[in-house]
């Protein structure tokens, strides 16, 4: 296989200071996995298992206690231009118009205004939002705002996208449309993406592989390749009979229904 590795975690362990002084909580324990070029990998696991911590390490916001993360072969020690992330919250800046929100990352990186605007208009047009360029975030629906957030993430042209439950705050119908938009965009642009989700359907519909994490201290307990067509089209993939089997396998692996629910609010 000559496809390059885009994102890699090597023996990553992360500990946080606990509530009582001196105590430590191990959020993730010895996690290793790699994403190849243009691959979309979903990461599922119980709440509080450290999924978001992995994302923060990958984007260079946290330094792991042990182990390393690599992006495009470079060790991640600080935020870098190869990676961009998108969260459940759209994080649009309310005082900026839609177009200025999309250009935010480019502006911070010091690109020329003409280049920023051209890139942002191109992305907004592809998401059908060009006519809303001069609107303000509060004037848009949740689904539109999340699309703007995706445009902002893509604007800086990262090789790796880290997506943390990007659609969990929108309604079910909007989510289906947004999943289709994201999957199509990732495929067309040939982006590599790590998709954190707790929606097992979403994991199966959108990814090439699903990684399953355990309860805290989180580690990878399984990896399931999704051998279904239409990764660029979740609505099309939904028609395949195999989807249900994969979801059932994931439920089985996470022992959903066989153990009491994890304590809420235990996430670090």
């Amino acid at each position: 296989m000559s496809t390059p590795i885009r994102l890699e975690y090597r023996n990553v362990t992360m500990r946080f200071a606990g509530k009582s002084s001196g105590s430590e909580i191990t959020a993730i324990q010895n996690v290793s996995f790699a994403l190849r070029d243009a691959e979309v990998v979903a990461l599922i696991g119980p709440s509080g298992c450290g999924k978001s911590t992995l994302l923060n390490i990958g984007s260079g916001l946290y330094r792991p206690s042990q182990g390393e993360a690599y992006v495009d072969g470079e060790r991640v020690t600080a935020p870098n231009a190869h990676v961009a992330f998108m969260l459940q919250k759209d994080l649009l800046l309310p005082w900026r118009s839609i177009i200025d929100n999309v250009t935010f990352g480019l502006e911070v990186q010091g690109r020329r205004p003409a280049e920023r605007l051209a890139r942002a208009y191109e992305l907004l047009t592809s998401f059908g939002l060009a006519e809303f360029a001069r609107y303000y975030p509060h004037q848009l629906s949740g689904g539109m705002r999340q699309r703007v957030a995706l445009a902002r993430t893509l604007a800086v042209d990262p090789t790796v996208l880290l997506l943390d439950e990007p659609f969990s705050a929108v309604d079910a119908q909007t989510r289906i449309v947004l999943q289709r938009d994201l999957a199509g965009t990732l495929k067309r642009a040939g982006k590599t993406a790590l998709l954190i989700t707790h929606d097992l359907n979403e994991a199966v519909l959108m990814s090439d592989r699903v990684l399953v994490m355990s309860q805290r201290p989180g580690h990878i307990i399984d990896e399931i390749a999704i051998e279904l067509p239409n990764r660029d089209d979740p609505i099309g993939r939904r028609q395949h009979a195999g989807v249900g089997d994969y979801v059932a396998a994931l439920m089985d692996r996470l022992e959903i229904g066989r153990q009491p629910l994890a304590e809420p609010g235990s996430a670090p």
Binding site: L61, P79, K89, L91, L93, W95, F104, V108, Q109
Partner: protein
């Protein structure tokens, strides 16, 4: 929708105007009906006549102008200092920890009590008045800015960091604009407090400003003159407040419309 809001606004304005007429009528004839002598509550017509006399004889507009200038300068300096200290403390938790007991002590101390001290230091000039205003304006602005900086969503800062934003970029592109709504709430309070600070300074000493006219009228038992000074002080405070509101509407134009709020 907007038609309903318009008619609500119109009904509100009419009721407001009716209240004003009622108030003025009560002021004009109420004291006479209740047997209150005019040296306690002069009727509105007498106050208006006194206002005209002061305009012609006592340089009313000059004194109003002095007070207004003191208010504006005190408000501007106090707000600027409050905002700067608020931002610095907001970005440095250890500095806040070190300074908070002293800030709290100064906050609890009644600022107007410093007025005689400042007059002793600086004489019967405009400076002690401005200084009292600066001191009294400082706190609401600083506290609001500090709280707003603390309340900025850490994920927004992480987003900026993920784009490799520098500390200065994070401040100017995220923290500073995010603090604007709370800063303006502080400025609104500060604009009215600035008038209080200046008047107290003028009452304590000097022969300039509406505060001086206030104590002069008191000394002469000229109740109407005191009322005129109070009315003009209200006008000065109102202009300052209105200026803040107009600036706020320009700066915070991106906030969702909250419907008619009056002032």
């Amino acid at each position: 929708m907007s038609g309903a809001r318009n008619s609500t606004a119109r009904r509100g304005a009419i009721a407001s105007l009716a209240l004003l007429v009622l108030f003025l009528a009560a002021w004009e004839w109420g004291p006479g009906l209740l047997g209150i002598p005019p040296f306690i509550i002069p009727p509105v017509s007498a106050v208006a006549a006194e206002g005209v006399r002061m305009f012609n004889v006592t340089h009313l507009m000059f004194h109003t102008g002095v007070t207004f200038a003191e208010v504006i300068v005190g408000f501007a300096i106090g707000s600027l200092l409050g905002a700067i200290i608020g931002y610095l403390l907001g970005m440095s938790p250890s500095a806040e920890l070190a300074l908070s007991p002293y800030i709290l002590a100064l906050q609890i101390a009644p600022k107007v009590a410093f007025a005689p001290l400042f007059v002793l230091w600086m004489g019967f000039t405009v400076y002690p008045k401005i200084l009292v205003a600066v001191l009294i304006v400082f706190f609401p602005v600083m506290i609001n800015v500090l709280t707003a900086i603390r309340a900025v969503d850490p994920d927004l800062i992480n987003l900026a960091r993920s784009f490799k934003a520098t500390r200065a970029q994070i401040f100017w592109k995220v923290e500073f604009p995010a603090s604007m709504p709370a800063t303006f709430a502080g400025l609104r309070i500060a604009s009215t407090l600035a008038v209080v600070g200046v008047v107290v300074g003028e009452l304590v000493g000097g022969n300039l400003g509406l505060g001086f006219l206030l104590s002069f009228g008191e000394g002469q038992a000229n109740t109407a003159m005191v009322f005129v000074a109070i009315v003009m002080l209200t006008v000065v405070g109102g202009i300052a407040y209105l200026a803040v509101i107009l600036a706020e509407r320009r700066v915070l134009h991106y906030l969702p419309a909250r419907g008619y709020q009056g002032f």
